[in-house]
């Protein structure tokens, strides 16, 4: 009975590289990881958005309307729905003049309990220490 904790750090903006999307899709895949593991063993993935990565969390993205693509804010809602921990760096948001009001914060409409957490970088840094492995996107 063991848990391997993965920390996903998203440092790039959306729609330029596939990185932020792949961070979300891979994190969501923790839902089905048990099929490969022994009873009681687990792999978890928490996601932190830092630097330009915080731009992924902007609400009201219209990628579906214009490009036929699930927008990244909708993807974040799906991650909340499967209970992924999501942190957004407070200092980076403030640097861009953005506030919590500008972000996707919850997925209440889908019945998700989890919310996006805006936290100081020091807290993200502490989480990174606690993880078994780090994956930078």
């Amino acid at each position: 009975m063991a848990t391997t904790k993965l920390g996903f750090i998203v440092q790039r903006p959306p729609y330029k590289s596939e990185n932020p999307k792949l961070a979300l899709t891979h994190a969501i895949a923790t839902q089905s990881v048990e099929v490969y593991l022994n009873e009681g063993d687990m792999v978890t993935a928490d996601i932190a958005f830092i630097g330009d990565g915080v731009l992924n969390c902007k609400k009201d993205q219209k990628a579906m309307d214009y490009y036929g693509l699930t927008s990244t804010d909708q993807h974040i809602k799906m991650a909340l729905l499967v209970d992924i921990n999501i942190w957004v760096c407070k200092e980076d948001l403030e640097k861009f003049g953005l506030s919590e009001d500008d972000l996707v914060l919850d997925a209440e409409e889908f019945g998700a309990d989890m919310t996006v957490n805006v936290v100081p970088y020091s807290e993200i840094s502490k989480k990174m220490e606690e993880m078994n492995h780090l994956l930078f996107f």
């Binding site: 063991a2 391997t4 993965l6 790039r12 330029k16 590289s17 596939e18 990185n19 792949l22 961070a23 899709t25 891979h26 969501i28 895949a29 923790t30 839902q31 089905s32 990881v33 099929v35 490969y36 593991l37 063993d41 792999v43 993935a45 078994n132 492995h133 780090l134 994956l135 930078f136 996107f137």
Partner: protein, 119 residues
Amino acid sequence: MGKLTIGCFASLVGSLNLDFAVKLSAAAIEKGHTVDLWVSGNGTMLSIKDQRPFKDYSHLEKPLKELMAKGLTVTACEACAEARGYNKDVTMEGFKRHSMDWYLASTFDADRVLHIGGE
């Protein structure tokens, strides 16, 4: 001896990220370690068989087959491959295809994970 899990998202030609991933796998296997290599996103391009070897482009089919013979496990993200039209028919023999959970599961007992997620 330990286990190394490498994930790589870059395309076959361009950044040399996939070349690096394959060469690092070789060096680790040479040292007696076990290596799992996961390719996702554009990295799934590595899985296509019958890449024509030109000297102007990376061509990794040959070194990859040699490494697979030495025990390298290499797996492509199935959805990423299908979205690009890389169907089972064009996949190299021995190259596995799974959902993304395979990569996560591989990290469970990995001693080291190198996730090559750059552009």
